[in-house]
């Protein structure tokens, strides 16, 4: 990579740059918008709000009710028992209706007071009072309870939690189900009915196999996933609440690594990781003057306080201007450092290398999220004033931040990818480290541009600053370039770097066929 190019902030740095070349070669200009339009066709999931969920639930209930000629309440009981799978209800019911009825507590006759207690009066089995027939109810089994006692029984079950959905006759020897019609008729208050119907709604999401709640904070949307929907193998979901997560394991989005890798990686650094991230994210001694310097931005380019002003890389503490990349794990250097080190310790060193970088990107992403909120709430306003722009003309800035946030997430997980990439796959490791290094450099440039170069335009000089147009072109360019690079990076890593087998590996970085293999 041309070093001068890295440093030239005053020109549009993406020109004539191998980072740029590298992915733009042979690229179809038409797909530059594909990340944006993915929300439309080919999307494998559907975001559902409460009304959508209820609608779906009522639809399956109606379907079962029609086919089996049973009440909606009975259909509900059956569906709940079979995890809301219409297919499973059909299968079990038509195989042996009696067995199914018995298992879920459905009697063979309709709900009415049976003739167990002959006569026109009956004793309630809970309060022991004697009532005229019309004030006594049973769920078809004939065990008589008065309206008030039913109300109390239902109410205490509902307040005990979702177990109320499988409510049975109060008589302990009886398994007759008390369905939602009974609840509707006999519940004491609308509040109870509301709670019951909320439990029912939740059960539809929590017990069916295709729907999950969005794990985003305070989010009430559910996401239905159609795994057979074609497209790539990604489980990534972007909820309407703006939270992105993996539908399969419910962790944050973690492309390019799979759920298994995420779970191994996360269980590897459980206890200390939070504090470790915190410490890593805060302060380090300046490598020149040793004064402690606090990281407050998100990019890795650090500048020490005056008078030192030393510029260095936050991760490796190397001089920023002699810095190419530092993503590569150099085992040889570690071994050289202490030849007597035990294997286990070597392992720890390797792990630390990857963990530090994983954590640094994690906290950098957190900062970028906070920064983006500040951009949206404060900086955009200022720019409207100082540069005389309309809000829509400034969307490229939030686009850039969204890109940074997404890329930090990918870069973070590439360090778990690197950790688990077999040591003996030398060619793959070389290619991986090259690609990761390029990604890191490119993202660093975008992050720095968005974070630092924007500042000069926030000051009000009374008139718009000259360079704003150039800044816009540069930031837009970097955003686009970085997006495309990361998309390809993800695809290449998810394919297990399979290009390695096909192509010659001597000229990595010059002829890497990522662009043409993309099709």
């Amino acid at each position: 990579m041309d070093e001068n190019d890295l440093n030239s902030d005053d020109e549009i740095a993406i020109d004539d740059d191998c980072y740029y070349d590298f992915f733009i070669k042979g690229d179809d200009p038409m797909d530059s918008e594909d990340a944006k339009s993915r929300e439309g066709s080919g999307q494998k999931y559907t975001i559902l709000n409460q009304a959508d969920i209820r609608k779906r639930q009522e639809d399956v209930i109606a379907a079962i009710s029609t086919v089996l000629s049973v009440s909606g309440a009975t259909a509900t009981i059956l569906l709940r028992h079979f995890n809301w799978s219409v297919g499973k209800v059909h299968e079990a019911w038509f195989a042996d209706e009696d067995v199914v009825r018995k298992r879920v507590g459905l009697l063979n006759y309709e709900k009415q007071l049976s003739d167990v207690n002959a006569g026109d009066r009956a004793t309630c089995g809970i309060c022991f009072d004697v009532y005229p027939r019309y004030r006594i109810f049973s769920v078809g089994c004939g065990h008589p309870f008065c309206r008030e006692c039913w109300g109390g029984y239902i109410s205490s079950a509902i307040n005990d939690g979702p177990g109320c959905l499988t409510l049975r006759c109060p008589d302990v020897s009886c398994s007759a189900a008390a369905d939602r019609d009974i609840i509707d008729m006999l519940a004491l208050s609308d509040d109870d009915k509301k709670k019951y119907s909320q439990y029912l709604l939740r059960s539809y999401v929590e017990e069916s196999k295709q729907i999950k709640w969005c794990p985003g904070p305070d989010c009430e949307y559910a996401v239905e996933f159609d795994a057979g929907g074609g497209g790539d193998d990604s489980w990534d979901v972007s909820c309407r609440c703006s939270y992105s997560f993996c539908w399969n394991c419910l962790e944050d989005s973690h492309r390019p690594v799979d759920c298994q890798t995420v779970s191994s990686w996360l269980s590897k650094n459980t206890d200390e990781s939070e504090t470790k991230i915190w410490i890593l994210a805060r302060t380090k001694p300046c490598p020149r003057c040793q004064k402690s310097i606090e990281k407050n931005g998100g990019c890795m380019h650090m500048t020490c306080n005056p008078p030192c002003r030393y510029e260095f890389c936050w991760i490796c503490l190397g001089d920023w201007y002699n810095h190419e990349t530092c993503n590569r794990y150099n085992e040889a250097a570690d071994v050289e450092a202490d030849k007597n080190r035990e294997d286990a310790e070597k392992h720890v060193t390797k792990y630390t290398h990857y963990f530090d970088r994983w954590a640094a990107n994690h906290s950098s992403r957190q900062k970028a999220i906070a920064e983006m909120q500040r951009v949206q709430s404060v900086q955009i306003r200022k720019l409207i004033e100082t540069q005389g722009k309309a809000e829509y003309e400034l969307l490229f800035i939030t686009d850039a931040w969204e890109q940074i946030i997404g890329c930090r997430q990918v870069l973070k997980w590439t360090y778990a990818y690197g950790y688990y990439l077999p040591e003996n796959e030398h060619t793959k490791r070389r290619l991986f480290e090259f690609l990761q290094g390029e990604a890191e450099t490119g993202l660093e440039r975008l992050h720095e541009c968005a974070e630092l170069e924007l500042n000069q335009f926030l000051v009000d000089y009374g008139s718009p600053l000259e360079g704003f147009k150039e800044f816009e072109v540069k930031l837009k360019g970097l955003t686009m370039v970085t997006r495309k690079y990361f998309e390809k990076l993800v695809r290449a890593l998810e394919n297990g770097l399979s290009e390695v087998q096909v192509s010659g590996t001597e000229e990595i970085g010059q002829n890497f066929p990522m662009a043409s293999a993309e099709g």
């Binding site: 309060c127 029984y153 205490s156 302990v172």
Partner: protein, 153 residues
């Protein structure tokens, strides 16, 4: 008077407990609180508790019968499902409670628990372990405790 608005169900249950007591069980309400019962259960024959007289207290909470009665052994007893404080591990006193159950059914269930200790669902880990590793010795300890603490003297 505090007992004036006692639900009819409690009055009826109390009357029946007094007039037709279950064999080996007596339960009578306290004079100043009709929701509080003094209970005595005789150790079932063929059990390590045979010959013992066990005192319990039973209280009917405000929500009774929608909520289960609260029952506790007052007499010290060596039993895997009963802890040092006399609390009892019995499903119908917890999640399996139904308002169609009664004081009588609860006490009969406790009596049955004395006949058939269940170390697989223990409340007292140590006793349960003892029961599983050396049942004969555990039974001896239970008999010893019965003689020491439940001789009814």
């Amino acid at each position: 008077m505090a007992n004036s608005n006692l639900p009819r169900r409690i009055i009826k249950e109390t009357q029946r407990l007094l007039s037709e007591p279950a064999p080996g069980i007596s339960a009578s309400p306290s004079e100043d609180n009709m929701r509080y019962f003094n209970v005595m259960i005789l150790g079932p024959t063929q059990s390590p508790y045979e010959g013992g007289v066990f005192k319990l207290e039973l209280f009917l909470p405000e929500e009774y019968p929608m909520a289960a009665p609260k029952v506790r052994f007052l007499t010290k007893i060596y039993h895997p499902n009963i802890d040092k404080l006399g609390r009892i591990c019995l499903d119908i006193l917890k999640d399996k409670w139904s308002p169609a159950l009664q004081i009588r059914t609860v006490l009969l269930s406790i009596q049955a628990l004395l006949s058939a200790p269940n170390p697989d669902d223990p409340l007292s880990e140590n006793i349960a372990k003892h029961w599983k590793t050396n049942e004969a010795e555990a039974v001896e300890t239970a008999k010893e405790w019965t003689r020491l603490y439940a001789s009814g003297a």
